[in-house]
Symmetry: C2
């Protein structure tokens, strides 16, 4: 195993990618896979695959490749997705509702254990999942009581920071922010942003500039 150097963030992203391709490979009946094939599926360089895995151990068999199922298990452990996680969501609008109903999350061990909103008409409502929408003012207390680990923000950007602060007060240490604004948190808290508009801006930029060259 490579001496434990700093692991690029991009490596983690790709492990997640590899993992999903391995699931598909297993489903399709493959038992072994080479770095070349896995790389092709994920649209990366084969050396990249080997190096990424090399940060965490030696999982392959020289001259043969990687055992599809074993490698899945290894990556699951590395990413810590071999257990379940407790999430709470703030903002039960269109997007929030969509996430709450998303089959993919529970299937991967990510469970919403609470949902909050400010809207009086939504508070008290029971969601398709059986979860009851609570008043956002209960967030701090409830998130603490239910031992929520990941807070998901799907509010309008104007209140995203406020909501983040509520999550912080409940000692949550990870936030998934869907609002198109930057939220400021202390170093002890992790934040990942999912911002559609940035992706669209990248597309329009490239659409404009690819013609110009």
């Amino acid at each position: 195993m490579e001496k434990s150097k700093k692991i690029p963030k991009a490596t983690i992203k790709r492990l997640s990618l590899y993992y999903r391709q391995l699931e598909l490979l297993e489903f399709d009946g493959y038992r072994m896979v080479s770095s070349e094939k896995l790389a092709w599926l994920c649209q990366v360089n084969p050396a990249q695959v080997r190096k990424d895995l090399g940060y965490f151990g030696e999982f392959g068999i020289r001259g043969v490749g990687y055992d599809v199922r074993d490698l899945q298990r290894e990556i699951k452990t590395i990413l810590a997705v071999n257990r379940s996680w407790r999430m709470a969501i703030a903002g039960v609008g269109n997007l929030g509702s969509a996430l709450l109903q998303h089959q993919n999350f529970p299937a991967r061990g990510f469970h919403f254990v609470a949902a909050f909103d400010v809207d009086r008409d939504k508070i008290g409502m029971t969601l398709p999942s059986g979860l009851r929408v609570r008043d956002i003012r209960e967030l701090r207390q409830v998130a603490e009581d239910l031992e929520v680990e990941i807070g998901v923000i799907t509010t309008p950007p104007s209140v995203a920071q406020e909501v983040a602060d509520l999550f912080l007060a409940s000692h949550i240490s990870a936030l998934l922010n869907f609002s198109p604004t930057q939220i400021h948190v202390p170093d002890c808290c992790l934040v990942e942003n999912i911002d559609f508009t940035i992706k669209l801006d990248i597309l329009t930029y490239k659409l404009k500039h690819e013609l110009d060259e």
Copy 2:
């Protein structure tokens, strides 16, 4: 202006970020902003802000800073978001519906001009926006007739590639893929992926490993 070197992709991402902070600054009544302040708001290094802008021109006033409104306009032009764009969406499930209703898109000039699904119960349905859901089999023809520029994929991953191929057949050159799978397209087509599960995996990885150091 810096000689036109290759522009880092990350620079484009940040321009999008800068732009939104500039909107907020204008809203709050600021007329000028320094690279230091803008950098703080976006959580990047001030030199980074100046270098990013430097790729495209000299927009600042030495000793003073940047004119909030002027810089907005410049970035809008660079990102090509100073015009409107025509989008079509495939997959009118929870997520698709949420995107179709999202206020932010039309506000920024991104307009859905068509929506497609395979589900017989959904086809023909009129959405809150007034848009009628069409049969996915019409995609190629309709996308071409309506001159769709950006295709949005919110189908289950199992059919994402098929749908991408339909979009390609209609000569679309940019795709926004929300399904958690890699889609393969020729070089002439741009793809941006928005994958929630990757972001969650990054959080769980870090949650596990931050404790270990």
